[in-house]
Amino acid sequence: MAITSIKNLKEFSTNNDRFEGALTLCPGCAHSMIVRELMNCTDDNLVIASNTGCLEVSTAVYPFTSWDTSWIHIGFENAATAVTGAEAMHKARKRKGTLKDNDAPVKFVAFGGDGSTFDIGFQWLSGAVERGHDFTYICLDNENYANTGGQRSSATPIGAHTSTAQAGTHSYGKKQKKKDIVAIMAAHGAPYVAQLAPNKWKSMAKGFQKALETEGPCFINTVSPCCTEWKFDPKDTINITDLATDSLMFPIYEIIDGHELNILYRPKNVLKVEDYLAAQGRYKHLFKPENRHVIDEIQKNIDEYWEMLQRREEARV
């Protein structure tokens, strides 16, 4: 079988990379860490579709491609639709026996940024999950439209400075809360929904393998720190992700069949959210005395959400 060993990093590193270098993502971008990990956790043939976004524009700079698998890009919103179309065709040709190798296992994966998942491609994603195709959708959540200059998206958290929700004398940045996409996708009844982070490589690889193995539509939201728009030093990508998961800004958990919730990572020392916010330039203005109430609000939201997750895990409903 084509699942590769992830017992420890040494075993994991014997995989042959199928995502090539010389792509034009910013130095230190977490997108390619996540994509590499997905492509290394299986030996199966992959069929991948990408929404428009940082990942798409920088891995397919004409006349080059960085993908060693089948890969397609059509529009901003329709990676989910494109890949489910390919999946339906594969199923039909398998039935008719017209494939070159009828037994070769093929996995279908779609990548989207948070803009194309939370906002623009949401209808397409929702439809594809409702139709019940066998595919995995991975959202690379960097909390803004980073490809077009850092505009706000519905994934941007409250208080963040973006180019269309600017912080200044009259505003403290974005005023609305982040959309809870994991809960929304779980409500679709998808068999596997999870939120994962690249710094916990093992839980991430396990989650990816589970999603690829599970029959039916799976959704994974991954945190992808963006050094350009979150305004931190490229070398700190993994440190920022550590702060995000340890301050519970991004709890790591999975929801199976829409109800069975498992928390996959419990930080030993839960950090204050201030540590996470202080490490990034986009939250700089929150530390002015008149904006301190926003930090308190963020901390309150996080505590409430963590409490909810723990209760749901206990209740198994």
Binding site: L9, K10, E11, F12, S13, T14, N15, N16, D17, R18, F19, E20, G21, A22, L23, T24, L25, P27, G28, C29, A30, H31, S32, M33, R36, E37, D43, D44, N45, T59, A60, V61, Y62, P63, F64, T65, S66, W67, D68, T69, D101, A104, P198, W201, P234, K235, D236, T237, I238, N239
Partner: protein
């Protein structure tokens, strides 16, 4: 680059439609297909990079070395082969074979310093040096093991 673009255009089917002549918008095959490999590519997951038959369209054949101001230098004497750098390198630039870290692919490295940051050894087995520094001089300047502060 221009040659590559022409070569790519061949695959779009302009030749089947009208040879060297330009064809109208409604005659052009929509979209474009770039092949990552020459010949059969069904077994790629089991081939190491040096055994693969990359085509000219694969970005493996391109380079982003000019993006770098500083480069990471690898000291094999300190390395414990934990593979942290391999799993977190965003540019597939850590060359790792048979559970051993062998070096850095300077064609694809952009010098983001993530590998230095995640290296757990004391002293670090990866450090940043100026791009112009040659490897031997860099290795001779390697810092001593730091003592634990009490």
């Amino acid at each position: 680059m221009q040659d590559l673009k022409l070569k790519a255009a061949d695959k779009r089917g302009i030749h089947q439609l009208g040879g060297d002549e330009l064809v109208g918008w409604d005659e052009v095959t929509q979209g474009i297909i770039l092949t990552s490999f020459e010949g059969d590519a069904s077994n790629v997951a089991h081939l190491k990079a040096e055994e693969r038959n990359y085509s000219d369209f694969n970005s493996y054949t391109a380079t982003v070395a000019s993006w770098r101001v500083q480069k990471p230098v690898f000291n094999i004497d300190v390395c414990i082969d934990c593979q942290n750098c391999w799993v977190w390198c965003p540019d597939t630039s850590i060359i790792s074979r048979d559970k051993q870290m062998l070096g850095i692919d300077y064609d694809h490295c952009k010098g983001c310093e993530v590998c230095v940051e995640v290296c757990p050894t004391n002293p670090k087995s990866l450090l940043m040096f100026n791009e112009q520094e040659d490897l031997e001089t860099a290795l001779s300047q390697w810092p001593e093991k730091k003592k634990k502060e009490k």
